[in-house]
């Protein structure tokens, strides 16, 4: 039992932190939002830091690192409210590596690691909400090794700019996981910005050519989403860290009734409550990442527990940070509203608190605690 970071992990944190501080300030972020919410240039810079290949083995051009490194990177990106969806590079890298045939790994892992190929998970369907077992998209085998997929996926991160999608579809009555290139015939997208300023797209597939990743699609999709959940929890911790720091600065500088508003006990107690929620969330983010390599039932239960706590924390911290700022908190000009919107979007990403409470409730055992 040890929660210290290794020297390598600390160096990784410092490198990402430095890039966020110098290379991704609020002005650059604002200009990326204005330009549509995704910058290929910024994404390439993440790849240069080695982040896109964090979970990809060195033999395939990646860093061969694990969940703690992923967590460290996501925390730091969260601190900078980074828009580019690194979580999806982590998902694609790990899931293709774990589930895909050798040829698919060879073809896709090196470009993903190098940042040349942006591959994102496209699983969201209108009727499924957060359920992973519901899938209306259909796949039919076209010829040896090639499938044709038809269906719609929604709110796909950077979907109109991505190079390929990881797509669940029903094949012979069973959910399977496929890889679809955006430029394949039958693929159409419509891009838009989401509430936090990042980019997403609707994805329409009409007999689009696809490569099989795995016939064990539900297990592979659950694995994908769990990587995304751990990443979202870590990213949330970074955003909350930044949000609290911004709020503390503001409270110590803003004067009313002739004194800094940080001297008022009602507000001080709110800050203590924010700190509580932040540290509970950080604890559960650690828990999520440390459980990411457990077997599926234990891993799934851990992610639900983590996302429930982190989701609750995000909502509280975001709402209260705006409240403590007063009027300036609801302006577009000032950063705290962007923190709030990012936290709100992260709560809903891969399942909100109500959904994950349901999961915790359904999976509850007679025992209790971290090791149960």
């Amino acid at each position: 039992m040890d929660f210290d970071f290794s020297d390598d992990q600390t160096q990784l944190r410092e490198a990402v932190n430095k890039w966020v501080g110098k290379g991704y300030d609020f002005e650059r972020r604002r200009s990326i939002v204005r330009a549509g919410g995704f910058s290929r240039e910024a994404y390439a810079e993440l790849a240069e830091l080695g982040l896109c290949g964090l979970y990809i083995p060195e033999a395939h051009g990646g860093m061969g690192m694990g969940p703690v490194e992923g967590m460290v990177a996501m925390e730091e990106l969260g601190r900078g409210l980074v828009l580019e969806p690194l979580a999806h590079a982590l998902i694609a890298g790990a899931v293709i590596n774990a589930w895909a045939p050798e040829a698919v790994k060879k073809a896709w892992l090196p470009p993903i690691a190098a940042g040349q190929a942006l591959v994102v998970l496209a699983h969201q369907e209108r009727a499924a909400r957060y359920r992973l077992d519901l899938c209306a998209t259909l796949a039919t085998e076209h010829k040896e090794g090639t499938w044709l997929i038809s269906g719609s996926k929604s709110v796909v991160p950077a979907g109109d700019l991505a190079d390929a999608f990881v797509v669940p579809a029903m094949a012979n009555g069973r959910q399977a996981l496929f890889l679809v290139e955006r430029t394949a015939p039958g693929v159409s997208t419509r891009g838009y910005v989401t509430q936090d300023g990042s980019r997403a797209a609707e994805l329409q597939l009409s007999k689009a050519e696809a490569t099989l990743i795995s016939m064990d699609g539900l297990a592979a999709l659950e694995h994908s989403v769990d990587i995304g959940l751990a990443a979202a929890c870590a990213e949330a911790v970074g955003v909350m860290d930044a949000t609290l720091a911004i709020t503390v600065d503001y409270m110590n500088q803003r004067k009313q009734f002739g004194v800094a508003i940080s001297s008022f006990q009602a507000l001080r107690h709110r800050v203590a409550d924010i700190k509580m929620q932040l540290e509970l969330a950080r604890s559960m983010s650690y828990y999520a990442s440390l459980k990411l390599q457990e077997r599926a039932p234990e891993r799934r239960a851990a992610m639900a527990r983590a996302k429930y706590q982190v989701g609750q924390s995000m909502r509280f911290v975001g709402q209260q940070a705006v409240q403590l700022h007063g009027g300036i908190g609801v302006t577009d000009e000032y950063i705290v509203s962007h923190c709030f919107k990012k936290l709100t979007q992260l709560e809903i990403t891969f399942g909100d608190s109500i959904h994950h409470l349901g999961e915790v409730s359904a999976q509850m055992q007679d025992t209790a605690g971290v090791f149960a």
């Binding site: 039992m1 006990q265 540290e279 650690y286 828990y287 605690g369 971290v370």
Partner: protein
Amino acid sequence: MDLAFTSEEQHFREDIRAWVLANLPADISHKVHHALRLSKDDMQRWARILGQKGWLGHGWPKAFGGPGWNAVQKHLFEEECALAGAPRVVPFGPVMVAPVIMAFGNAEQQQRFLPGIASGEVWWSQGYSEPGSGSDLASLRCKAERQGKHYIVNGQKTWTTLGQYGDWIFCLVRTSSEGKPQTGISFLLIDMKSPGVTVRPIVLLDGEAEVNEVWFENVEVPAENLIGEENKGWTYAKHLLSHERTNIADVNRAKRELERLKRIAKAEGVYDDPRFRDEIAKLEVDVVALEMLVLRVLSAEKTGKNSLDIAGLLKIRGSELQQRYTELMMLAAGPFSLPFMAEAMDAGWQGDQVHGGLGGLGGFPGGALHCAPLASTYFNMRKTTIYGGSNEVQRNIVAQTVLG
């Protein structure tokens, strides 16, 4: 980073578990597992068993006869005791006054007082709060005047937990009214059998007399019972508060009680009611998150890192969860939490014999004997967010670390 305990830590845990299993009297653990009334004898019996093994002062360094365990080992020991249904060690002697005597007492005081604490023979009480001094403890007025070889103590202490059993009491007393209130306080050990000491139990909302008022009327206390220097008591008291930070969260007991809550909810038919079950699920997450927070502090302590900014959160969160699980147990029992039968909280109660005993009309209403203590425990636990520095004071401290 690693969530798992090392294999040495695992072996340590197994050794502790085996020892507790072999040495914890079954009648005592039965009471703890069912929240039944513990007698002075129950508490002292377990204290003596631990004392014989050298584990009553389980946080003590080897130099003073303790096991010299690190923060993780202490945690594992406490966890195994809690899960097995051991009563909480009454902390005033081994956990609170002993570290002060070790750090600031002289050799003679150490030889005189520590053996009785380590063995569990001498029952210690705490004399801090006064009727006018709660959160503002430094305003305390209980006065000790030096007269030759004695201090003459006059004043009143209150909320003295289990003081009715106390042999000795460690007190913060006012020895000077000059300067800041904190600088005129001394740390004095007082024999509760001294003439002029009066103890009066205070009946609390659950009907039990867990705390007491203690009066001092011209009590003669030998000057050699002063710890350290006169007027430095506040510093010593703060030292005491810096000890055992993780234990105050009581997460081990929370785990045991969450399991018990699930059993009660099943017995009462609400475990499969989605609305009730979700409340348990929330607590399930709360307990995991608190345990992770505790483990983070322990990990930092093991490697000598400063974890003050999160340690302050433990008391707040731990006490809130203690209240929540007792609240849910009461709500699970529903109407059967309402009958107040103090005698039904005694182990082995056979019911009202006139009405046919346990099997007849003389049993607990609805035959739901396990419901007897649930509301009382809920009422009792309201203390947790008040004592040890109210949670509002704790929030002030946390805010100070964040806002400056």
